[in-house]
Each structure stands twice: as C-alpha cells, then as structure tokens.
Amino acid sequence: MISSRFVLKRLLLLVPVLVGVASLVFSILHLSPGDPALTIAGERASEEFVKQVEESLGLNDPIWVQYGRFIADAAQFQFGESFIIQRNTTVREVLVNKLPVTLELAIYGQLIGVFLGIPLGILSAVKQDSITDHLTRIGALAGISVPIFWSGPLLILLFAQVLGVLPTSGRISVLYNVEAIRVTGLVTVDTLIAGEWDMFVSAVRHMILPASVIGVYSMALISRMMRSSMLEVIRQDYIRTARAKGQGAKITVLKHGFRNAMIPVITVIGIQFGGLLGGAVLTETVFAIGGIGTLLVEAIKVGDYPIVQGTVLTFAFLFTLVNLGVDITYSILDPRIEQ
C-alpha cells in the first residue's frame, strides 16, 4: 500500500521541477531576441524611461545575480506583475482566475476519453480482427488525424448554427453572473453549490462540445493502449486455464483480464495528460474559453514573461500532481508493488 512517506517524497519533487522551470524560463528570457525592458516600456518609450525600467528590474546587475533573484522569487511563487496582458495585476491573481477554466475542460475531456476509450479498447481486443475491431481502430486513427481546430469549428457549425441546440462559445450564457457565486471557479460545480439549476444547465451545455473535442484525442490513445494490454492478458495462461475449466469467455475476460490489463493503461493516462493540456490550448482558442492555455499563447506572443513562467509552472505542477494520483491508483490495483 502507499505510504505517506512516498507521497511526501513525490511532493518534494515539485522543488526541482520549480527550479527547473524557472531556470528554463530564465534562459529563454535571456536568449530570445527581444529586450524585456523595451517590451515593458513600449516601443516608443524614451531612452530615459527604458533605463529606468532596466534599473527597477535589476537588468543591469551581473547575470548570475539576476538568476539568483529570479530563482528565489520563483521559489516563493513571486512571479511579479504581468508586463502587458493585465498590467498591475500579480501573476498569481491572473492564474487563480484562469486555472479553473482549463482544469474543468481537462477533467471533462479526460473523463470522456477514459469512459469511451477503455470499453472500446476491451471490445476491440475481445473481438480481435472482427469488423468491430477494425472499425474501432480506423476510428481511432481518424480521431487523431482530424485536428481539434477543424473538428471544433465543424461541431460548432453543426450543433450551434445548423441545429441550434448547443451554444457556440464561452463557458456559460452571458445572462448569468458566475463571478457572484464563485467558490471553486469550476462553473459546473459552482452553479450546483449555489443551487442555480438554470445556470448549471447552461454551463453543462457550454461544456459538451469542447470536452468532446478534447476527449476524442485521449480516447484514441487509451483505446489503443487498452486493446494491446488486454490482448496480452488474454494470451496469458491463467485465462486459458479458466476458460478450459468451462467459464464463459465474457465472464473470464471481465473477471481476470480487466484488472490486470488496467495497470499499464492507468500509467499511460497519466503520461498523456500532458498531451491533453496541449490540446486544451487549441480547444480554448476555438471555443473562445479564456483559460491558461490561451493565456500562455498570448503571453508568448507579446513577450509577457512573468505570465509565461507562471503558466508553464502551473502546467508542470498539474502534470506532476496527476501522475502522483496515477501512482496511488496504480498501487491500489497492483498490491505487489510496495512503495
């Protein structure tokens, strides 16, 4: 079983992750062509003002002094204030506002991927080389061939414009003020907590299309992984023995195969969560949902480095935490492993 010492060790890993991301951002900041002082002051600023900005940011200190300060600030989650995107707002504040948006999208997308991908993979494996198997595999291949920024617009056109059953973009109807009932920042949760049924329905309706678009991607990988993992388990001896003893094929598979086949799939779900976050960047853009994905894109475009750093670090933390969760699930499924 999992020990608290193991969890603590994994959480301590966040320290090298933090220093690592901060070092990478620092080097990108100093290697990329733009002059940060000029970016902040604006292209048309007077030379004097640019000098002043340089002074206040300590850009004239030797680079190792700047590095030390940068890492020390990052270690305290002090990323400073946004240069451009939201002037005079701390990066932390911006992130707290935007993170739940992406988180909500990723959670529902992942759920769709898992709950469609696993059954499809099992079906494909149990009926290996049947029409169902081929269709599932071709479907998965088509799923990864269609880019999110095309399937998204098509779904919007079909369901929002032609059929008019789902909303086009955003997280909730503009008629409602979600900020007033904000608790977790996840609109589908907040509206339930507040007991606003109409608002909840609106939030769910807004979530359906983006979550499906993002979910199809992880579904493709999960079903492929589940299929090959399941096939491997089916081929193993004890399943054959169980079958020889006269148990029906379906029962055998469900009883013995599933649990063992799940183990490698669970770990893959953790690893592909990173890809899901990448997909979130595109999905947020298509559906005009302002989460940390679009924030990152904007920040890179305009050179708002404090925001870039905060966003990248948030992504890295999310990834690490999800994989910690995966490890805990893993050890529950496979008690042979001692942590």
Partner: protein
C-alpha cells in the same frame, strides 16, 4: 513514398530496369504493403495531394490569391459553380487558396521531416555506435524531450526564434520537437545492425568509424526511418497548421491551411460562414489521414525486429 526510397536504394546496386521492378515487388515489405487496402488508400490520397500541390505552385499566381479582390469578386460568396469553395472576407476565391495551401503543407512538412530526420539519424547512430556515456546522455535527453507534450514544447521553442522568420520559425521549432523520435528509431535499428557479425569483421579489417556508419549501418536503417518519416509527416502538417492557427506561423494573408482556419474560426463561425473553415480543414485532415494510413500500413509490413523501435 516508400517505393521511391526503395527504388533509389535499389538502383545504386545496378540492377536492370525489369529486374528492378521485380525485385521491388518481390521484397516482403513492399508486397505486404501493397496487399494492405488501407495503405493503398493512403498512397492514393498522398499522390493526389502532391499533384494538387505541384499544380498550384506552377499554375496559380501567389500574388493574385494573396491580394484583396474586393470589387472584382463578390464578397463572402457561398460556394457556387463559379466559386466552388466560395470567397472570403477579401473577396478572394477560396479554391485556389486551398490548393496553394497543399503546396505550403507539403513544402514545409517535407523540410521539417527532412531536417529532423537528418538530425535524429546523426544523433541516433552516434549513440548506438559509441554507446556508454555518449549513448546515455544523448538518448535520455531525447526521452525527456519526448515526454514534453509536443505542442507545448513547440510553443516554448517558437518563443526563442525571432518572429520575422514567419513559417520557418515554426519549422525550426518543430524540427527540434521531432528529432528525438528519429533518434530513438535509428538507435534501435542501428543496434540491431551492429549486432551482426559482419560489422565486427569490417571493423577488424580496419574500416574507420564514419565508413562503418555510412556504408553499413545507415543503409540497413532505411526501412524504419522511412516508416517513422511517414508517420511524422502527418503530425508535422497538423502541428505546422496548429502553430499558424495560434498565430506563430504564416504571415497574414498567406494561403496556409492553418491561417485560413484561424480566420474561419475567428470571423466566420459566429456568422455561420461555414466554407471558410470547412474546406481548408477538410484537405488538412484528408492529407494527414493519408499519411497516417500509409504509415500504419508500413509499420505493419515492417520486419518485426525493426518494428520494435518504431513508435
């Protein structure tokens, strides 16, 4: 794709015209590939897109489809017999623009895949041949790069390159993103080749390192490299379009599929102008599907010893 590479390697051995074709079709890889209907469909799609791309490059004037056609053509016209794919907000007919997009996709896709193949082949062969610390550092670095989500890594890299490079900036970033995949495949294949006894014999006979690598190891890795290139071609086209879509690629007005989709989403979606996003996206997805079908078929046709390495 595969047949072409095969052909060139075979010609160097100096067989005659007829014998060559016989030999190519007799190879288990090619015959297995040609018996796969899905792979054949993939080849058909790719050939069609290449023809469209070359036609567009030769017969469509880039100026005429980049400049605004307001006044000449109807603005925002729906698809009709005259304007098969409709016109955009600048009254430009979409058909030639989408066709020209095929040229951009093929051109920049080829450059990205070729550059990352070259880099990856170099690193992979060096890692396999020298082993030990060299292998350890090169390959584990490649593994870390592989663990990053490709689009997020590409975004970070794009930030390093100056933005006046346009689409070449995206190409440079994606080249670095894809290099690890090739390095991994090539290292795996090269290790299999290096296990052969004749390599030891060649070294014992006094062959130099570069000679062994180029003459003996590289030719034997060609099949898995070709498979990996095909699989990555599709990815490269999607990712290039994605970077353009997010605003890190082609300059405004360029007829690239990603940029056309971006306009279609930001301006056409709310007003129901479906043809702005439908046509570029359709051809994008079709091309990618073609490469994925062919790549999957090629992987299945590959010698199982080599298949292990291809991801």
């Amino acid at each position: 794709m595969s047949t072409e590479t095969k052909t060139t390697t075979e010609t160097t051995t100096g067989t005659g015209e007829r014998g060559l074709i016989d030999r190519v079709t007799a190879s288990p890889f090619v015959s297995k590939l040609l018996s796969n209907r899905l792979a054949l469909a993939g080849i058909a799609i790719i050939v069609t897109m290449v023809v469209v791309a070359i036609y567009a490059r030769l017969f469509i004037s880039l100026d005429a489809i980049t400049q605004s056609q307001l006044g000449t053509n109807p603005n925002r016209a729906a698809p009709s017999l005259e304007y098969l794919f409709g016109t955009d907000g600048q009254a430009r007919s979409l058909l030639p623009r989408v066709a020209y997009g095929a040229w951009y996709a093929m051109l920049f896709g080829t450059v990205t895949v070729a550059a990352s193949t070259t880099l990856g082949v170099g690193l992979g062969i060096i890692a396999a041949y020298y082993g030990d610390v060299t292998d350890n550092v090169i390959m584990r670095t490649m593994d870390v790069l592989l663990a990053f989500p490709s689009l997020l890594l590409a975004l970070a890299l794009v930030a390093i390159f100056p933005d006046d490079l346009g689409l070449w900036r995206a190409v440079a970033a994606l080249t670095l993103v894809y290099t690890p995949r090739f390095a991994r495949v090539v290292r795996g294949a090269a290790l299999t080749v290096l296990e052969n006894e004749y390599i030891d014999a060649t070294i014992a006979l006094g062959a130099t390192d570069p000679r062994v690598l180029v003459r003996h190891v590289l030719p034997n890795c060609l099949a898995p490299i070709t498979v990996q290139s095909t699989l990555n071609f599709g990815l490269a086209i999607i990712d290039l379009a994605a970077l353009s879509f997010l605003g890190f690629g082609a300059a405004a007005g360029t007829p690239s599929w990603g940029l056309m989709l971006s306009n279609g989403v930001s301006q056409g979606l709310l007003t129901g102008v479906w043809w702005w996003s439908f046509f570029p996206g359709f051809f994008l997805a079709l091309t990618v599907l073609g490469f994925n079908l062919l790549g999957d078929g090629m992987r299945d046709a590959l010698d199982p010893r080599m298949r292990e390495a291809v991801d």
